[in-house]
Amino acid sequence: MEVTQVLFNAQSIDGTVRKNAEESLKQFQEQNLPGFLLSLSGELANEEKPIETRKLAGLILKNALDAKEQHRKFELVQRWLSLDATAKSQIKACLLQTLSSPVFDAHSTTSQVIAKVAGIELPQKQWPELIGSLLSNVHQIPAYAKQATLETLGYLCEEVSPDVIDQDQVNKILTAVVQGMSASEGNIDVRLAATRALYNALGFAQANFSNDMERDYIMRVVCEATLSPEVRIRQAAFECLVSISSTYYEKLTPYIQDIFNITSKAVREDEEPVALQAIEFWSSICDEEIDILEEYGGEFTGDSDVPCFYFIKKALPALVPMLLETLLKQEEDQDQDEGAWNIAMAGGTCLGLVAQTVGDDIVPLVVPFVEENITKPDWRQREAATYAFGSILDGPSPEKLTPLVNVALTFMLSALTKDPNSHVKDTTAWALGRIFEFLLGSAVDLPIITQANCQQIVTVLLQSMKDTPNVAEKACGALYFLAQGYEGEGEPSPLTPFFQEIVQSLLTVTHREDVGDSRLRTAAYETLNEVVRCSTVETAPLVLQLVAVIMMELHNTLESQKLSSEEREKQSELQGLLCGCLQVIIQKLGSSETTKYAFMQYADQIMGLFLRVFACRSATVHEEAMLAIGALAYATGADFAKYMPEFYRYLEMGLQNFEEYQVCAVTVGVVGDISRALEEKIVPYCDGIMTQLLKNLSSNQLHRSVKPPIFSCFGDIALAVGEYFEKYLMWAMSALQSAADLSTHIAGDDELVEYTNSLRNGILEAYSGIFQGFKNSPKTQLLIPYAPHVLQFLDGIYMEKDMDDMVMKTAIGVLGDLADTLGNHASSMIQQSVSSKDFLNECLSSEDLLVKESAQWAKLAISRAISV
């Protein structure tokens, strides 16, 4: 096959030509993978070939080695590993050769391909000579080849985990990289490539950072690079410092003073991309110290691995003025641009983190700045003052902040209505929101909002909702937190008298002409949701009235026809918001008997609307509607059966939606809701549901996070249908057993531990539901053959000693359920298990009351089973 021509055609502007070319490439790949990869790497290596085809050849090679989707990636890795060894070594030779090509596109693509191959082979202990051959002649080759080599090392470090490269090779990589960074290297591109490579290699340098001399050397080179005349090098060097600040926080003491000097000069004088990284360094130190101090304050006092060096506290007198200066460097119109990120925003963010780190100490350093600037004629000064004030509201104690806030509140309310500048109003509304967010909650006794000023606050916020979209959005946000502040207070909320007015204003906002292009409409509905969630029994009749209003809105969106694709997208977004709002209302009204009863008059109509919503294609809308239906099923109970004939196909559709796995996950949860609501009336639908759920479990395309809920759902169904579950028992038990075997032992990182525990929990909930479901049935004996495995699973996870309290509670409950249902059939089995002794005793004396409660129940069930 003449691959050059095909690669050319694949980039043709003529669609047919392009399609044909892509088709023949695909065929080539499927019919002869080694030949395909070999000719691509040949094309990439051939200096005679045009740049375009070489570049595309590299890209296709890369895509043949890696993919975003986990299962696809796994497939590609397996395919590469099973290739013929000769072909592989030929391809790798071509790649290494291309690395020293003078053509930039060729060597730059190649360095990524090499890293991908390394990512597959090094963990398998293959290609051991790679790093040696990359470094063998790094000093003698031309600058462009050196650059390519350093880039390859950088990508390689990004691709593989530190434990697959031995320390000797790490040392060699670091030496090459640090030498490439140093001032003696004359070529700017080489220095830049080296600095970026170091960023990726830092994770490999644990041993080197423990050695004073080596660490000093690396730190010196990085700090020097921050002073390079080339802006990209300075930026990359600061990125290294940011990474060091989190990876090697505990090694920073000797350098922190120098770093402060470097960063503060960069923040004040350097170009924005560099200044942003310099600020990020301090934000990152704050993150570290907040974590450490949180651990200090937590239950395991003093057991933290890393001590806090209080860098922020010590730097405070110089750090805070530096950050305050940045606040004055706002961009015009930054509030209109959703993605804006600039020095002022980064500085304010950092100031907020500093406040969280040091608490009260920041207040006296910021207050003079606020006082000095808040009344200045230049909007930048007023905005910066307000931003500074808003930034420090999370961290210092309420005792320290409340007197200040009480003074500021009146001023802010007046600024929000009267300030001529929109930025100032925007920030003022945001700062008010922060006051409500952090200083209202029931924990704080000092009143900020009184009967006297509540009226004024509400009036000002509602008025600001008529302001420009960005100010209105922030006003909605402030109202959100104001409502939240009174959540769960038993007494009548001071907002109750304004409920009607607030709801009306929010609905008006959603109808603004200019609502389309901003987040305003979303913010208004989110606020409406929170207002409903936090409403009290006095306003329940008003919430009930809202049902009809939102239903009408949703109805209207379903009536409009012939929309452009852009309009349709907006329409879906609105439908999602409306379904979300209905969900919140249903959940609210469904949680009390009186309101639930009154709400039921709307159930048929609402369900009718949801069914129509499913006819439109949008994942978000489906998810929202599905969640709302779950809440509806809970509220209607067994009566939900009448909706099932029509609803069932959408339920099945949701369960089949692997692509948008959130929809699938939510649907699985709704199956649980419906099982509990319908109980045995769900039987006619069980065949379809169980078949799909079992199919989902065996698929490797479904996101793994959906699998634990599927198991829990087995339990829900079994509990609902009782002995009818017999039909599925064999299949369900076999799926449960294999998952149980897999999840007994955990080997991996925290994330995997967490996942495994959630999987165990799902499995255990399934067992619980099944045992309880079969209780008192003549078919109880069907479960006896499975009992040994269940007990073995319980013993297994108990021995592992790594389950969380949640799993512990569910597990000991299963022991009780097994005893409860099987009674004396299982008594000897139970008595032989470790779980019934050590595990049970451990749970009985648990600190966690839920665990203890389950254990007491299990104990009772066991004693009954044994004695009968």
Binding site: G490, Y525, E624, L627, G669, G672, S768, D817, D820, E853
Partner: protein
């Protein structure tokens, strides 16, 4: 320039209501699943989640005040009489209802005036609502209606009623209150106290129980407004001596709840499960909305309907609380009705 990938510009709203909706739904589903599971487990044992309430051997806490109470028995004995877990566990369906009904003290209709009414009796306005047992133990509180179904499962400020790690209340402590749940203000009105903080009050006089109820309930914080660890408010009801002014106060006095008749309790009576002549109930149109039927317009129809329950022993009773026996049917009639 794009924002830092891990650092969200904090002036942008950090709230994602969609995520919040998802999480709240998951929370609700988890709670519903727990409730369903719990109900299944409780059906097994038909008990009040009291398994820990009767520990085999538990060292008694010394409580000076309580020791002065005459005849106060250790609670385990009091329970073994009435709440035999093993026995109750065999009950199913309607049996459960009967068993639970048996745990509550039920008044008889007041058809004449007892002797020494003014001296020996209390009177109070009965709140309208659901009669239930409220049991707090092991950091949770469960209310069960007479039919054994769970009304609520919630945290409360009652001793052992919520999971708060302040160490208050030993693991063995628990409470059983005889309550009426009043829908409108979502409040549990406590009409009697059966056990408090691990101590049984079954064998205490009403006089003592009411005294204890009034002082302890307030003290526990259970009368406070609802909060995160205290989902429903509890309230005692005003109890009067049965003299003229007390009767007047109970009959006409304003209370924060809808009235459903007057209850009379003999001061010297112990808490006795089932019907007892030492507790009486009176209803008329002034103190109960349920005394007479009204139609949709609120008018009183010329004929009042009564639904009667035919019991297995051929007795015909009303479904009032307590039931009134109308008479007994002979076998002939029963067969005719049957066919």
């Amino acid at each position: 320039m794009a924002p830092h990938d891990i650092r969200r510009p904090f002036k942008r709203a950090a709230i994602s209501d969609q995520q919040k909706r998802r999480e709240l739904s998951l929370l609700r589903q988890a709670q519903n699943r727990r409730d369903a599971q719990q109900q299944a487990r409780c059906l097994a044992s038909s008990i009040l989640s009291l398994q820990s309430a009767a520990p085999e051997s538990q060292p008694e806490q010394s409580d000076i005040e309580l020791e002065t109470v005459p005849e106060a028995e250790p609670e385990s004995e009091a329970f073994s009489k009435d709440l035999d877990v093993r026995q109750a566990s065999k009950l199913r369906g309607p049996e459960v209802r009967k068993w639970f009904a048996r745990q509550l003290m039920l008044p008889e209709w007041m058809i004449d005036v007892p002797d020494r009414l003014a001296q020996d009796w209390y009177v109070f306005a009965r709140p309208a609502g659901k009669r239930c047992f409220v049991v707090s133990s092991n950091g949770t509180t469960v209310s069960r209606q007479r039919n054994g179904s769970i009304l609520h499962h919630f945290p409360s400020a009652l001793p052992a009623g919520a999971k708060i790690r302040d160490g208050s209340g030993s693991a063995q402590s628990y409470c059983i209150l005889d309550c009426i749940f009043h829908e409108l203000d979502q409040t549990y009105y406590v009409i009697d106290m059966v056990c408090w903080n691990g101590y049984s009050l079954y064998d205490c006089t009403a006089e003592f129980r009411f005294y204890w109820l009034n002082s302890k309930l307030e003290e526990s914080g259970a009368c406070n407004a609802p909060s995160h660890y205290h989902k429903f408010r509890f309230s005692a009801v005003p109890v009067y001596n049965c003299d003229q002014s007390g009767l007047h106060a109970a009959y006409t006095g304003v209370v924060p709840y809808a009235k459903d008749g007057l209850l009379f309790y003999n001061k010297h009576a112990l808490y006795q499960t089932g019907n007892t002549p030492l507790a009486l109930v009176w209803k008329d149109e002034n103190c109960s909305q349920y005394v007479i039927d009204t139609d949709g317009k609120g008018e009183i129809p010329s004929q009042q309907q009564v639904v009667l329950e035919l019991q297995d022993d051929r007795k015909l009773v009303t479904s009032d609380d307590p039931p009134v026996l109308f008479g007994c049917l002979d076998g002939d009639i029963i067969e005719k009705v049957w066919f």
